[in-house]
């Protein structure tokens, strides 16, 4: 196990260095001079332009800028946002809980529905249930999420008026947010109705975001179950007269879950990286929206730092998933 970990870490570090180079290089390649954008229609005089270039360090040679940047990373300094003038890391940490909250809710919803749906489909293979479930899963899997989110808003917020359109909590509630997770903070605040308000704000974004992982999990569970159901020990258990519930529920599912867990783990990585479309449409103050806004604003420092942090999140989650998978499934460790 240790050697597996070491091997895995050995690929982690060069990948991370590669990520820093790519994030750095991308930003230098971005067209659009941030100083000119800052000035807008009003323009900026050539002297002032030079002054600003120096202030932002753009006059340094490229390699020096890169080394300064890497040195900064090790001190937790990812630069300062052009627009808000606040450290990029601070901004990230302020917004990350919102993304985590949404991602976790989505993945929980997807798992709670996806696994049973997959099992039911597998057990009823070829029957109506299977076909209905798998067709819906495929529709979900094919869904243009940005359109789906708009439809949800039109129907549930616009026509039916059941849910709020955007934001994280009703404005009448005002309390400190020590954890940054609105569900927890609203409970801690002790204000009546705050928790309900937080939940109602979460529903639509969660549904929109969960759609694709849900479909993937259901499909994966079904095929894993089918594979396991064909194995000898399941047949034996069945022959021995065990109840179908027990066979399917306990023996088969337990083994089928291994690949499913990997899928879930990887989706967590993807979702934590910020749900660009969902967050943008629901004005959810998370890192996906932050990145999109920053790209449009040409906020170099934020895009650069954000890319790095997001890649780091994805890499760490994938590492954890790999290790967990190694723990569950000893076969991998040797490979």
């Amino acid at each position: 196990m240790l050697s597996f970990l070491i091997r895995r870490l050995a690929t982690f570090i060069p990948t991370f260095i590669g990520v820093t180079i790519i994030a750095f290089a991308f930003i230098r390649l971005l067209p659009g001079d941030p100083i000119l954008l800052l000035a807008g229609e009003r323009g900026v005089s050539p002297e002032r332009y030079e002054q600003l270039r120096q202030q932002f360090g753009f006059d340094q040679p490229m390699w020096k800028q890169y080394l300064d940047y890497v040195a900064g990373i090790f001190q937790g300094d990812l630069g300062i946002s052009f627009s808000t003038k606040r450290p990029v890391l601070d901004e990230f940490l302020t917004l990350f809980p919102a993304t985590v909250e949404l991602a976790l809710c989505a993945i929980i919803l997807a798992t709670l529905i996806g696994i049973p749906a997959g099992v039911i489909a597998a057990v009823n293979r070829g029957k109506f249930f299977d076909q209905a479930l798998m067709s819906s899963a495929l529709v979900g899997y094919s869904m243009p999420i940005f359109w789906w989110a708009l439809l949800l808003i039109i129907v549930f917020s616009g026509t039916l008026g059941w849910t709020p359109v955007s934001g994280r909590i009703g404005l009448q509630y005002f309390f400190d947010t020590p954890t940054g997770f609105m569900l927890i903070d609203s409970l801690l605040s002790g204000q009546s109705g705050a928790f309900r308000s937080a939940v109602s704000h979460l529903i639509l974004p969660t549904v929109a975001l969960a759609t694709i992982p849900l479909a993937v999990i259901a499909r994966q569970t079904r095929s894993a179950m089918l594979e396991v159901l064909g194995e000898d020990y399941v047949r034996t258990a069945r022959a021995k007269g065990m109840s179908p519930m027990r066979v399917n529920g306990v023996h088969a599912l337990r083994n089928a879950l291994i690949p499913v867990i990997t899928v879930i783990g990887l989706s967590v990585g993807t979702l934590l990286a910020g749900a660009i479309l969902t967050e943008t449409i629901f004005s959810w103050p998370g890192i996906g929206k932050w990145m999109v806004d920053s790209i449009f604003r040409r906020d170099y420092q934020v895009v650069q730092g954000g890319l790095l942090l997001i890649a780091l999140v994805v890499m760490i989650v994938n590492l954890i998933v790999d290790v967990l998978y190694g723990l569950i499934n000893p076969k991998i460790r040797k490979g």
Partner: protein, 302 residues
């Protein structure tokens, strides 16, 4: 699939069925896949004959008919079957032309991604250890960024346009081809027939591309089919974020983005482009599933 296998086995035909026949008999067993294929072909025809089918040009503006609803709704007319958009352009015509863009996008992106990906994958599979490691690390790096975000940044660098959006998406899709190809190559490489070819003095390039590659194609084809739908979806998403095709191009995602401000007033300009994306992607995914079942021998056995 068991049924399909036994059926083929019981045909009183003594010749072994051709590869394509075998594939087809297995593919056509999957009802969804066949439906998908027909829908796909229908869209393909619409795309090919768009100028003949569309009642109007995609950018013809009728300033006396802004945001006219579809014909069945009050205020709509059969002049514009699915209504018009904010500039008085016929929605149906734009959707029909949009089919062209979607297929063009899917085809080009998949060709680009699979060609580069397979090439790099084969090289990695045969390359010396250090080069293999380098390539795979590079792919890891690309994969550690969320694909849409990476595509977004790439488009920001290249400048927002349809072509650049397609390039960006091809770049983020190709690592999957690299990984898949490399894995398949590594499996095949150790097989006897490859050793035999090598011993017989086959040139390395010939062995790489003529001997080994054809035997790795099945998973690559499946991946290509599934990438086709991803390409359409992601380009639409970029268009939606304003970073893909630029107006007045009737690309479906871009149409959605333009329509967004009318979401509460003119449901049709929002609903139809999205529906077109969904149906196309769904059809391709259905086909892709069918392809996988038919081509992937592992699943066939189960």
């Amino acid at each position: 699939m068991t049924d399909a296998a036994s059926q083929t086995a019981s045909t009183p035909n003594l010749r072994p069925p051709s590869r394509f026949k075998e594939f087809w008999s297995s593919f056509k067993e999957n009802r969804g896949a066949v439906i998908g294929l027909f829908v796909f072909l229908a869209f393909l025809l619409i795309a090919a004959f768009a100028p003949l089918l569309a009642p109007y040009s995609f950018d013809a503006q009728d300033r006396s008919a802004l945001l006219v609803p579809p014909f069945w709704q009050e205020g709509g007319s059969t002049k514009y079957l699915l209504g018009t958009d904010a500039l008085g352009r016929d929605l149906l015509s734009r959707l029909i032309y949009g089919a062209r863009f979607s297929f063009f996008i899917g085809l080009l992106v998949v060709t680009l991604a699979s060609f580069c990906g397979v090439l790099i994958g084969v090289i990695a599979g045969f390359a010396p250890n250090w080069l293999d490691t380098l390539i795979m690390r590079l792919m890891d790096i690309i994969l550690s960024f969320p694909s849409l975000l990476l595509a977004l940044v790439l488009v920001a660098i290249l400048g927002p346009s349809l072509i650049n959006a397609m390039i960006a998406i091809a770049v983020v899709l190709q690592p999957h081809f690299v990984r898949l190809t490399r894995a398949a190559v590594l499996t095949e490489k150790s097989k006897d027939y490859v050793t035999a070819a090598r011993v017989a003095g086959g040139r390395p390039l010939r062995i790489m591309f003529r001997t080994v590659l054809p035997n790795c194609l099945a998973p690559i084809i499946v991946q290509a089919a599934l990438s086709f739908s991803t390409a359409i979806l992601d380009t639409a998403a970029l268009g939606f974020l304003g970073m893909g095709a630029q107006p007045p191009t009737p690309e479906w995602g871009t149409m959605l983005a333009e329509a967004r401000e009318f979401i509460l007033r003119a449901w049709w300009v929002v609903t139809f482009p999205g529906l077109c994306i969904l149906i196309t992607v769904l059809a391709i995914n259905l086909m892709g599933d069918g392809l996988r079942d038919a081509l992937d021998p592992k699943l066939k056995r189960s």
